[in-house]
Symmetry: C2
Amino acid sequence: MKLRSLRESDLIAAVTKEFRSQKRELIIGIGDDAAVIRGKKKLLLLTTDLLIENVHFVASFHPPYELGRKSLNVNLSDVAAMGGRARYALLGLGLRKKTDLTWVERFFLGFKSAAQESGVELIGGDTSASKNVVISVTVIGMAEHVIPRNGARPGDLIFISGYLGDAAAGLRLLKKGFRAGTDRQADALIKAFLDPRPQLALAGVLSRRRLASAMIDTSDGLSVDLHHICEESRTGADIYLEKLPLSPEIRVVEKNPLNLALHGGEDYELLFTASSGNRAALTSLKKRFSLHCIGHITGSRTIRVIDRNGRSRRLEAKGYQHFS
Amino acid sequence: MKLRSLRESDLIAAVTKEFRSQKRELIIGIGDDAAVIRGKKKLLLLTTDLLIENVHFVASFHPPYELGRKSLNVNLSDVAAMGGRARYALLGLGLRKKTDLTWVERFFLGFKSAAQESGVELIGGDTSASKNVVISVTVIGMAEHVIPRNGARPGDLIFISGYLGDAAAGLRLLKKGFRAGTDRQADALIKAFLDPRPQLALAGVLSRRRLASAMIDTSDGLSVDLHHICEESRTGADIYLEKLPLSPEIRVVEKNPLNLALHGGEDYELLFTASSGNRAALTSLKKRFSLHCIGHITGSRTIRVIDRNGRSRRLEAKGYQHFS
């Protein structure tokens, strides 16, 4: 059997079984956004991500400064989605021998700018020669308590921060040959893809005030990420098409923005569920944060999309493809 | 300026400067085998390594089981060399889509066997498609105190565990077309390269009994790794050619084994310095461990090799090349 026919989730399931934990201080192991270890006073969060050239990014699209920022920010997003605060980062970098030093400097400056914005410190790493650029980032964070993927309960409201689909729309533009600087609308979408902003402040508030029952960041796209929450919480969900937040830019640029909103990845927004008792508290958060209630959790084990006429259909977890 | 003309140490130096730490709980940042953070009671050690196909390993040489073991063990060696005990691991794995599932299973079984031998738990990771196989391992360990690279003092004795050069000799055999199973001597050397054993038990004793003033694992080869200790300790060293430990196998197989002993990498043995007051304690450790005193630290800022006739020459830090 070739790997091509295996989904990442199957591979993770096989590995999880093989490596089931024996240690009591390990709270969450393989399968969530980050692993969680019980420390003396706080919880330690650990997450790692690989970014591989021509799989996760295309060097000709992605300026090194923005790539450096994104490499760290996607990991900060993982830690934030667990309710944690990132503290330290390790960076593994595989570079072509003919890489220009200016490229490396710009990459590090971008990485550093994202680190400084979020109070994270680069404490170690590894460099290597490589045919393709390979970026491996590990982030260590702390939390008082974690917001898992499996905490959603029937009746919980489903919220999403920001807009859906902008990053995927930006990627489509880049693939079509658009570059930043051509058009105001296109620029905003391209920026959403090249330089996503992790919702660290919102995640911090949700965690401190214990407003979310389950949370994930939308790296794979709404349909896949909502499936993660529902599968692990053993629930279903109803979401309403007309409630999906679409940016003014995606409405102008895309003919069928709802498809990207449902299945486009890499927005790195927060998708979370909350008990309906927290509705007022979350509504008041809308003064500070872009936040949208898009549906609710059900007991049915299926995820349905409901259109403005009340017609419903099953939402498939359609995998988001970056480049290959 | 292209990266080709830049050494990894220069790149690390540039990054270290850029990312100088502001946080007081960070004890050792970029540049040592592992980063060290002061926890509530213990020290937290973090290290990350990239293994890239055709740079660090060649898939046709390296059976997946041994590659899985080595991927983890080289990181355990880094933690041990700091005086720590590894506890958790994160694994990022980039695989070709046409990779056979059996290969992946054998890799994980190897990784797991090394994890179980050392009481380490795989707690998370990331998988991705990739053109070349990319393995990124991060290990988290604990320590009561650390053994840094910069603790060597003039007059300290220099010790090495195990034999020098065996892994490099094994790699030479593999490159020449030898494979395991052809010859007993060759097999031992090939195994030293494919499946190195990190000196975790010895490192634990040296750390608990505070016998070492500086320590590093020999991943880059004696000449480079001794330079790391001397540069960071601001010392020099005299080492004696006839004291370099050569295995019976390398003596049979290699015409000029001393060159490999001085410059061959990937032995993952422990190179450490110790105050001469610890000589008796270290001599008694020779009952349990393979341990050799190969010279002493000097105040001169140069590293000299002294032959059996008392002639000395400067030892250059000649970089070890894996595959490209």
